[in-house]
């Protein structure tokens, strides 16, 4: 299991989560296209695939098959642990 902090310690991986948060359920091709065209990320498809593997290992990305195509989804659940550790509100944790 990759540590969530290590998974987030990379600009490209944060951009991937931004794009999946904006539109959930994307193929590798779509992620690569938007990273290149919107963010000027010049990484290879293989490199993006490895970034996705790190995010998946950290539980921040899940994959599912729709037909013969693999789609990637953003799962913010691991971020709850961060918010619980350092609550952003003055109120006590429930």
């Amino acid at each position: 299991m990759t540590d969530v902090f290590r998974a987030l310690d990379d600009e490209t991986r944060r951009l991937i989560l931004d794009e999946l948060a904006a539109r959930d359920g994307q193929t590798l091709f779509e992620i690569c296209t938007t990273l290149t065209m919107r963010h000027g990320v010049g990484s290879t498809r293989q490199a993006i695939s490895q970034h996705l593997a790190v995010l998946e290992d950290a539980g921040l990305v899940t994959t599912e098959r729709r037909g013969r195509t693999k789609l990637h989804h953003f799962d913010p659940t691991p971020l709850d642990a961060v918010a619980r550790r350092w609550p952003t509100t003055g109120k006590a944790d429930p």
Binding site: R23, Q26, T27, L28, F29, E30, T33, T34, M37, R38, R45, S49, R66, G67, R68, T69, K70
Partner: protein
């Protein structure tokens, strides 16, 4: 030098011809029996003398692993230009076509990716400044 013909592998040539003509709107150019298969090409009605797309049988053993790997990652095998991706998306989804990527603004163009029902993904593109 000109690009006169390019090909994609299709699972079933007759089903592919129906999809590429009736649904996508191309025109049959050649449909010539060739053994058990056909020399089957379509062209755009906008460019009847333009490049032909050969709908080639997918029987070769290398085709399946090649296409499976591309489809898994959502990678299209061909790109067709349209005037308006959004209106094509509406028209084609109305006809039951599945898209793996809805119309997406990528800056210089709008793109979308559809499943051609014959084993391939196809990208539609409308450049914002005509080339």
């Amino acid at each position: 030098m000109r690009i006169q013909l390019t090909s994609i592998y299709v699972d079933d040539q007759r089903a592919a011809l129906a999809f590429y003509t009736d649904v996508l709107g191309f025109t049959t150019h050649h449909d010539i029996p060739l053994g058990d298969d056909f020399w089957l090409t379509v062209v755009s009605p906008d460019a009847p003398d333009g490049p032909e797309l050969l709908l080639e049988p997918s029987g070769h053993p290398a085709v399946k692993p090649y296409r499976d790997a591309l489809v898994e990652d959502g990678i299209p095998l061909a790109q067709f230009a349209v005037d308006d991706v959004e209106s094509e998306y509406q028209r084609l989804t109305g006809l039951g076509v599945t898209f793996t990527q809805p119309p997406t603004d990528i800056g210089p163009a709008v793109v979308a990716v559809l499943d051609d029902t014959c084993g391939n993904l196809i990208q539609l593109i409308a450049p914002k400044t005509p080339a």
